[in-house]
């Protein structure tokens, strides 16, 4: 019935907001692709100057710039545009917290394991189901993915993690750390920066540290000699031993693969050594929190690879690890994560 007084009992605002929430990202990703924020890092400019520098159509560029103001990435004054602190910090090339690759891979479902390239095709993906067996290993990685991991880590998560660990007494006493599946090496570097006695080994599949620019990072933070790179297959091969700490971050395994890796980690640790696992965790009912349920869906495979804290505790206990401490951190691009410290019980 059409009348003038049939306002719905609840507000449609939230649903409308969900429907239009793709728009900001479309505008952001296009602007990053055309280096608009990098050009503006030099100082404020008019629409015509920007269009000229980045080689775009000036009429649509001006509309785009206004849209970037409306979503808080640019400011406009006296006809000129400038970066907001948010854009200047995260969207300018060569700046330490630049998020180019994170933004580039964000449209993609399932971090390269899927046949479906764009989240806009989520309906098609749901019909088809998972693409089949995932080859855990180097096939998962490409350059953008590896660099996105680095960008996701550096913008707060690395620092928060190192801060948490530095408060544990055993961390200060540790001499040798294994950063397993560490791609870019930033965790190994941050930990050795916090603990002057520590030496760290970054271990990943052959070719992956190069994709993640690990060598460059070791040079950049002057950790040559204290952080070394080792390449190998940590699922099927040997990972070495004599470690006080084995650290893994955002490595998502399940079933036999998980068992094989955890058992290797156990063997690699000294008595009273710590296995530190930092992953996104989900509530037991699997419907909280939002970012994690999205991440769970994003893992386009048949089995669960996202666990709750208590599920992790049970999984690790079977391998002789006792859960010693838990710290939640929110500085994570993929959703709230937990730093779980497991102690290797002395036999």
């Amino acid at each position: 019935m059409i009348t003038s007084d049939t306002m719905p009992g609840v507000s449609p605002t939230r649903i409308c907001g969900m429907a239009d929430s793709y728009q900001s990202f479309q505008v952001l990703s296009t602007a990053v692709k055309h280096d608009i924020f990098t050009v503006l890092s030099e100082g404020s400019k008019s629409a015509e100057e920007i269009a000229h520098e980045v080689g775009t159509d000036s009429y649509i560029t001006k509309k785009l710039l206004n849209a970037l103001v409306s979503i808080g990435l640019l400011a406009k004054g006296s006809g000129k545009y400038s970066n907001t602190p948010l854009a200047e910090t995260f969207l300018v090339k060569e700046k330490p917290f630049y998020q180019e690759n994170c933004i580039k891979v964000a449209k993609t479902i399932s971090y390269g394991t899927s046949l479906y390239d764009d989240w806009a095709k989520i309906g098609e993906a749901l019909e088809q189901g998972p693409p089949g067996v995932v080859d855990w290993g180097p096939g998962l990685f490409d350059e953008s993915f590896s660099l996105a991991m680095k960008e996701g880590a550096i913008h707060g998560e690395v620092q928060a993690t190192a801060e948490v660990l530095s408060n544990y007494t055993w961390f200060g006493n540790a001499k040798k750390l294994l950063d397993l599946g560490g791609t870019h090496g930033l965790y190994a570097i941050a930990f050795t920066d916090k603990n002057p006695l520590l030496e760290a080994v970054l271990f990943d599949f052959p070719g992956v540290p190069a994709l993640g620019n690990a060598k460059k990072h070791i040079d950049q933070y002057e950790m040559n000699g204290r952080v070394t790179i080792q390449e190998g297959d940590f699922i099927r091969g040997d990972i070495g031993d004599g470690y006080d700490i084995v650290f893994i971050s955002h490595v998502y395994l399940q079933g036999d693969t998980l068992d094989a890796v955890v058992s290797k980690i156990h063997d690699a640790l000294n008595g009273n050594g710590r296995f530190v696992l930092k992953n996104v965790v989900i509530h037991k009912n699997r419907t909280e929190p939002f970012a994690t349920s999205l991440f769970d869906l994003d893992f386009w495979i048949d089995e669960n690879v996202i666990f709750s804290i208590d599920e992790y505790a049970d999984l690790m206990e079977a391998h002789g690890f006792e859960l010693e401490s838990v710290a939640k951190i929110v500085e994570c691009a993929y959703g709230p994560s937990a730093i779980l410290v497991f102690k290797k019980e002395v036999e």
């Binding site: 609840v10 239009d20 929430s21 793709y22 979503i71 707060g156 999205l294 869906l297």
Partner: protein
Amino acid sequence: MSSINEPPEISPEPIDEMINGYKVSHILNTAVEKGVFTRLSESRNKSAEEVAKEIGTDPRSTEKFLNVLVTLGLLARSNGSYDNTMEAETFLVEGRPHYMGNYVRMTVGSNMLLSFLDMVLESGASLQDHMDDYTFDEVNILGCAEGALCHELPIIFETLKDIPEFTGAKRILDLGGAHGAYSMAFARKDSVSEVTLFDRPHVIEFAKKFIARYGMEDQIQLVAGDATVDDIGNGYDLVFVSHVFYRKEGMESVLRKIYDSLDDGGALILNHWVVDESRTGPRISVLFDLYISMVNRDQQCYTVNEYAGLLREAGFSNIRIFDIQTPSSPSMIVMGKKEALNS
């Protein structure tokens, strides 16, 4: 070299939110297109497996998908089965008076336009040259109708309830009225004797069907034509135009035509999304301005003062502005009166 252990001074959270926003829109749209909420309304409390079977999707992925809808507050889960929340039941179940599924599909459908932003920026091309009449398929017309019914029509009628030109009008023209939701609301007013809905021929066909749903086909006169060239009639007390004037060319002549079609003392009421004077807000208007410009450079979003200026130039006086902006629908009403010449 700064230490690796120095975090950024500001949080990247707004950027992460934009990234997630892209996914949220497509998840909502997919749930609507697959009829998840409509199925759950037919028989409550279904398992993920049952839902998957009904909508033809993979059961494991569907469970994860439904869990995301739970975290978005659109579904509730208990004992492994899913049910609509009040919001979903009100707005996302087909056939309900406030169904907004087509509005969602229309809104997310514009993602397709923004996907061409790279191309348009580089080439300066107009998308209209590359696509058939995108704007007016059935999803879009129904989407506009749902947008009107859920958040504009009731607000407009409430806002103008003490305006004599609005409440006293007998003969009303709903120009570019598309779905006819406003025409029907006018026709239901006791004071109104005649409502004419004028729109392009293929749009009028949609309007016929939509109006027939409410059994009001006898109360509204449907006229097919192009307002820029065809006669729009005369003797009106009120001409109402909602979300039509987003063009640059030809505005003066159409407004003059409207002025001439009104009786002395009659009024024109415009309802449109508007941009601020700086043209950098509100977000919904600015983004709308961007993508309609990509489609055709003759299209744009106006400021409220520009509309007021155009009305004055066309001869209207006693210009009044009513702010009815909400975050999801940044509309303003601009109203002008045709004064009797010798009053």
